[in-house]
Amino acid sequence: MTAPADQLAPAASGVREVRSVRLPGGRREPLALFMARVALPLLLLVLLVVFSLLRPATFFTLDNLGTVLTLQAVLGVLALGLLLPLIVGELDLSVAANLGLGVILVTGLTSQQRLPLVVAIVVAAVVCTLVGVVNGLLVTKVGINSFIVTIGMSTVIGGLVSAYTQGNVFYDGIPPALVTIGQGRLLGVPLPVVYAVVLAIVVWYVLSHTPVGRYLYAIGGSREAARLSGVPVRGLTLAAFAGAGLLAGVAGIVQAGILGSGNPTVGPPLLLPAYAAAFLGATAIQPGVFNVWGTIIAVVTIQVGTTGLALVGAPFWIEPVFTGLALILAVATARYLRGEAL
């Protein structure tokens, strides 16, 4: 078989001809990679437009938007925390149970033990962070696989929450200030959304603009290479788990405020959505990399999709089907596009 010389030439020079786009700043990148970057944001845009056209009176109202975003702000904060262990190449399956622990601590300590709200918040945040620290110590010092450690931790937390609540929901004696934390607004924007945005900016800054962020990604890429390059691998792995714990605690406190009650069942169901958001997010913006804005866009896209479907009268079971399919399709598409791009 012979090939025309002009087809051989690019291969011979080591350069494959790919269509490319110019990015702001003059850098070029392959079209397929660029498409992978923007596919999820585009899907979000399409969903917004379609649902607004289908249900102009209800979907695109400020009220509805506020509800949509508030519902997902807690999940967003939880997923932000989850990013940290994922980036260093570890799993944390205890984040959702830890969130539930935060909910129960802040509502229980105020309503049952009559502690001041500030104290309850600090205790909840510290305990949830400590849960992360214990995870981190078991992984880095004892050397147990993080999957096992955090499954165990998640189960233990569930048990302790049951012991403390005795299966009850804390309704009475929840401080109004806690409810304000969860349901207040700042310049018309629901407070949970404000927290999520602020925390997203902080995590994004640390991950992409500081040496620590680079170290976390380097650890995830190759632990040994990071160690030989002088990165404090154990310390930062521990810190990643601690960060996941802290953010789970914060999410729990906010969730308690939104609900205005302490329900022992609210945490665990958020585990899979948080993972879905992180993995879906890793298909966008920086494809192949766990990243903050991809994760946030994923959280919003899932919620816009499911809310929109509900508004147009889709049956209730559409929601999990939509979420699951969106995740698998997005990852498959990103893989395909990246495979072509690289």
């Binding site: 620590v212 680079r214 390059s229």
Partner: protein, 279 residues
């Protein structure tokens, strides 16, 4: 070729106090390292003089990599001592050795796969912005790192890379090795160690690495070169350290030994004579 004042070359702590003129830069005594039942190092010595290229040769498993890992802080020896410029040191990790001016190209390259070239070159010693943004907000100076990286790669002529943004995992083996070598050459201020730096390189690139080794030596920085390539060793080394079964069995000026003699010692086909061990 390499511009020490600018670029990634940091203001090196060139400790060249005049009274240290003849003192060896690096002395290791009785280094021992065991992994379970395997004794990787069995009381090995090593002396690196000023202004020399010291080749370390030995069969597979002779303990060469383990030896240099002790010197670069990647492995903490069970026994033995290390002196840098006559001072006892105890490296607890790679950062300690690096702070002492020792840079290493590891046999299994310490390159972060998903990061780009500049990120890899600066991994563990990132440049931060000037002023509060740098020390307060820990803000990275990506522009400077990219610019320096480009300048360095251009000046070394070590590797042709299409895009600085390429993730290291997408580079060829030789290109990756080029980055590891460039990093050590740029940042090594007292000792540069290279563990088989030409193993994955083509003829042209190997040539460049050998030239670079000599150039680093001419800058006044001694080099430890581990290699299985005898012609390379005999071309650039001033002395040859022969490692066998976890020990140094001989250390000979290159001029005093022939290639077949070195290979015979290394493989155990002949025993070292009285003139063969000298620091």
């Amino acid at each position: 070729m390499i511009s020490p004042g600018r670029g990634p070359v940091p203001a090196a702590k060139t400790v060249t106090a005049p009274d240290q003129g003849s003192l060896p830069v690096l002395v290791a005594r009785g280094l021992t390292k065991r992994y379970g039942h395997v004794t990787a190092l069995d009381g090995t010595d090593l002396t690196l003089r000023r202004d020399e290229v010291l080749a370390v040769i030995g069969d597979n498993g002779a303990g060469k990599s383990t030896l240099i890992k002790c010197l670069s802080g990647a492995v903490v020896p069970d026994e033995g001592t290390i002196e840098v410029d006559g001072r006892r040191v105890a490296f607890r990790g790679p950062l300690d050795a690096r702070a002492a001016g020792i840079e290493t190209v590891y046999q299994h390259l310490a390159i972060a796969p998903a990061r780009d070239i500049a990120a890899n070159l600066y991994l563990g010693r990132e440049l931060r912005r000037k002023g509060f943004a740098g020390w307060g907000l820990r803000l990275l100076d990506r522009k400077a790192m990219r610019a320096n990286t480009r300048e360095l790669l251009d000046s070394l002529g070590l590797l042709t890379i299409q895009s600085l943004d390429q993730a290291a995992e997408t580079l060829s083996g030789g290109q990756r090795q080029g980055i590891a070598v460039a990093r050590a050459a740029a940042f090594g201020s007292r000792v540069v160690i290279m563990d088989e730096p030409t193993a994955a390189l083509g003829v042209k690139e190997s040539r460049k690495v050998l030239d670079l080794i000599l150039e680093i030596k001419n800058r006044g920085i001694p080099v430890i070169l581990i290699s299985h390539d005898m012609p390379h060793v005999f071309e650039v080394a001033d002395r040859i350290h022969i490692q066998r079964l976890g020990r140094r069995i001989a250390c000979v000026p290159t001029a005093d030994i022939t290639m077949p003699e070195a290979v015979a010692l290394m493989t155990g086909a002949s025993q070292p004579g009285p003139g063969h061990t000298q620091d």
